[in-house]
């Protein structure tokens, strides 16, 4: 019996896999169908339009909030910019705190969670559907988003939990409960619970499935077509090894390689732009013209605007609340300083990196336009602009880069996989924080979430882009609904912190150490 057992298992295993690969395509299709039909209602709720318009209310919600914070804090994104740089450089860090989490480290970790596929694939989706004009709205959303990020990250540090063993936990769950309590406003606890639920969905959606999906798209781009669940299983295995097995070495390697990949990506984009320097003026012309006319894209200029705002929010997560979780571990006596530092995040993520991607796609002529009218042509389905190789998402970016630098698709594939992986690790953490907030801490409870997370990696890799991207967006934006209500209620507290800090900075009470 004991000798029979392994043989039986092996036979079963091979039969299973033979059956799996035979029906691999249908497995993908089944997952896709079930997924699309079970999440559809949630997606339509989040993305429903303002009555009588084709403008999704959620986009308005984010932009209005970012604008309100920009005005309320007196254009803090520009006023505090120089100070934010000095803080990151460590000019104001007490040397006796060396060995603690620095501003730079908090920013770098938060960035590695946000810089990723949003910057490569998301931008391609925005430009592919909304045309070059989407870039303009994306940059504007990035600049405004800096104020939202400032608000949420200040609160994240101010209301974090510090435990007896020296670890910290922070994020919207904590400022929604503690901050609301302090202001004497009810409902904080309900909002915190809602936020946690959406954060878990967002972690499984944009922080996981979208990443797995696009990583698979890249792999098929390099190695040819094969079923998505294979990529999913491999990715899930590695993620499992890191988050459950505690294989920190893998995480540490990616954390180090990701910034280098980011630099290579931006560097390559710059080279392509320099080579085509004569077209940069034209590209910006297209961006501005498209921003206000649409240049024939589906939905006209409103279509460009919606795509730009949507993808910017998805990429830099300003107002979503995730960054507040990442930034809250910094060692500082002044919560507002982390707010200043976090301002730089949407700037680097959206205004710099996303714009690079968009410019490369536009300059390399991936979007097909009508030579007579100058308007862009739509694809056969009429849903997006016709592209040279009929590509969309990350494949479009890949085609754009490769058209200038031949072998770049391999580097980009590697970059996408690493970005996807580091984003997954970051979001598994955000999701876990929300999970433990809801269900309490404990080994088994945490393990449950981590296993669910790994299962969704497989689903994400197998499903097709449409339903995955819709659900990912919907879940992440749902977080913003709750988080921004909290930010409105708590913004006077941030203002008080800001005024007090600025006064002390001017009077010289807060000094540089170096």
């Amino acid at each position: 019996m004991t000798r029979l057992f392994p043989t039986a298992v092996l036979t079963a295993f091979f039969t299973f896999f033979a059956a799996m690969s035979a029906s691999a395509q249908s497995i993908d299709e089944t997952i896709n169908g079930v997924f699309a039909s079970s999440t559809g209602w949630f997606v339509s709720l989040i993305f429903s339009n303002f009555p009588g318009t084709s403008f999704p209310w959620i986009v308005g919600w984010l932009v209005v909030a970012a604008s309100v914070f920009t005005v309320y804090f007196g254009v803090i994104q520009f006023r505090a910019f120089g100070h934010a740089i000095s803080l990151v450089k460590g000019d104001y860090s007490d040397p006796n705190d060396a060995g603690e989490v620095s501003h730079f480290q908090a920013l770098a970790t938060a960035l590695s969670g946000t810089v990723g596929l949003g910057n490569i694939a998301g931008v391609a989706v925005a430009v592919g559907i909304g045309g070059p004009g989407a870039t303009f709205w994306m940059i504007l959303a990035g600049l405004l988003g800096m104020a939202s990020k400032f608000t949420e990250c200040t609160l994240g540090v101010k209301y974090r939990n510090e435990y007896a063993d020296g670890t910290v936990s922070g994020g919207p769950m904590y400022y929604l409960t503690k901050g609301f309590g302090e202001r004497g406003v009810g409902g904080g606890r309900i909002l915190a619970v809602l936020f946690s639920i959406f954060c878990i969905l967002g972690a499984l959606g944009g922080g996981n499935m979208f990443q797995a999906n696009q990583a698979h798209a890249q792999l098929t781009n390099v190695f040819g077509q094969y079923p998505g669940w294979i990529t999913g299983v491999i990715f899930a295995g590695i993620v499992f090894a890191v988050i459950v097995g505690g294989l920190k070495s893998i995480a540490r390697v990616t954390e180090k390689v990701v910034p280098i990949m980011g630099l290579i990506y931006v560097g390559t984009a710059l080279i392509i732009l320099l080579v085509n320097y004569d077209k940069i003026g034209w590209a910006f012309g297209q961006i501005f013209q498209g921003a206000f006319t649409g240049l024939g894209v589906a939905g006209g200029f409103v279509g460009a605007l919606i795509q730009g705002f949507k993808r910017a929010a998805f990429s830099n997560e300003a107002g979503v609340g995730s960054a507040a979780i990442a930034h809250s571990a910094v060692r500082t006596k002044e919560p507002i300083t982390e707010g200043f530092v976090s301002l730089l995040e949407p700037l680097i993520d959206t205004v710099v990196i996303c714009t690079m991607t968009a410019l490369v796609i536009i300059i390399t002529g991936q979007l097909v336009s009508d030579p007579e009218t100058g308007n862009y042509l739509l694809n056969e389905a009429g849903t997006a602009i016709k592209t040279v190789g009929d590509t969309s998402g990350v494949a479009l970016t890949s085609a754009a880069f490769s058209s200038s630098i031949g072998g770049f698709k391999y580097i980009l594939a590697l970059a996408v996989i690493l970005f996807a992986f580091s984003t997954m690790i970051s979001w598994s953490y955000y999701g876990l924080k929300a999970w433990t907030y809801l269900f309490g801490e404990g080994k088994n409870k945490e393990l449950t979430f981590k296993i669910i997370f790994c299962v969704f990696v497989v689903i994400g890799a197998a499903a097709s882009l449409g339903p995955v991207i819709d659900f990912s967006d919907a879940a992440i934006f749902a977080m913003a609904v709750v988080n921004i209500i909290g930010l409105y209620v708590l913004m006077p507290i941030v203002k008080r912190e800001l005024n007090s800090y600025m006064t002390r900075l001017k009077s010289g009470e807060i000094k540089k150490f170096q």
């Binding site: 060396a98 060995g99 970790t109 020296g166 571990a329």
Partner: protein
């Protein structure tokens, strides 16, 4: 004014030789010794979110371990020999941090050991002793 020696100490054999050298010198001229243990650390390194969360706890642990395992036994040993001793545990770039302590404490001399391998890694990245030769603010003795 009696001499003040800043000694870089990491628990290795060469570090012990450097320390013995400094203690012997201080014993002769009635000087004092400041033993500095530097934990290599850069505020610009990359950490995962989980590592960020635990950083403060880890730091506390690291400091306690360095104090108990390295500094405490050595303090009692040197005090017994009649030389006045002070210990410091710091985070940062080893050579730069040692120099900073020497400046702050107005040391008259610095003493460090060297492993003497001169392998590839020290060729590429430099060694503590090699850096100190370049940047030490006070006379520096390198003990082989």
């Amino acid at each position: 004014m009696s001499d003040k020696y800043v000694v870089g100490y990491d628990g290795s054999q060469v570090a012990s030789r450097a320390l013995d050298f400094a203690v012997a010198k201080a014993g002769v001229d009635g000087g004092s010794v400041i033993v500095v243990h530097v934990l290599e650390w850069s505020p610009y390194s990359f950490l995962t979110p989980e590592e960020l969360e635990e950083r403060h706890a880890r730091r506390t642990e690291e400091l306690a371990r360095a104090e108990n395992a390295l500094m405490a036994p050595l303090k009692s040993r040197i005090s017994a020999s009649g030389v006045s001793v002070e210990t410091q545990i710091k985070y940062g770039h080893v050579a730069k941090t040692l120099c900073k302590v020497a400046e702050e404490e107005k040391a008259t001399q610095m003493v460090v050991g060297r492993d003497g391998h001169g392998g590839l890694s020290s060729r590429v990245f430099g060694s503590v002793a090699g850096s100190l030769v370049q940047i030490a603010p006070v006379p520096c003795t390198i003990v082989p």
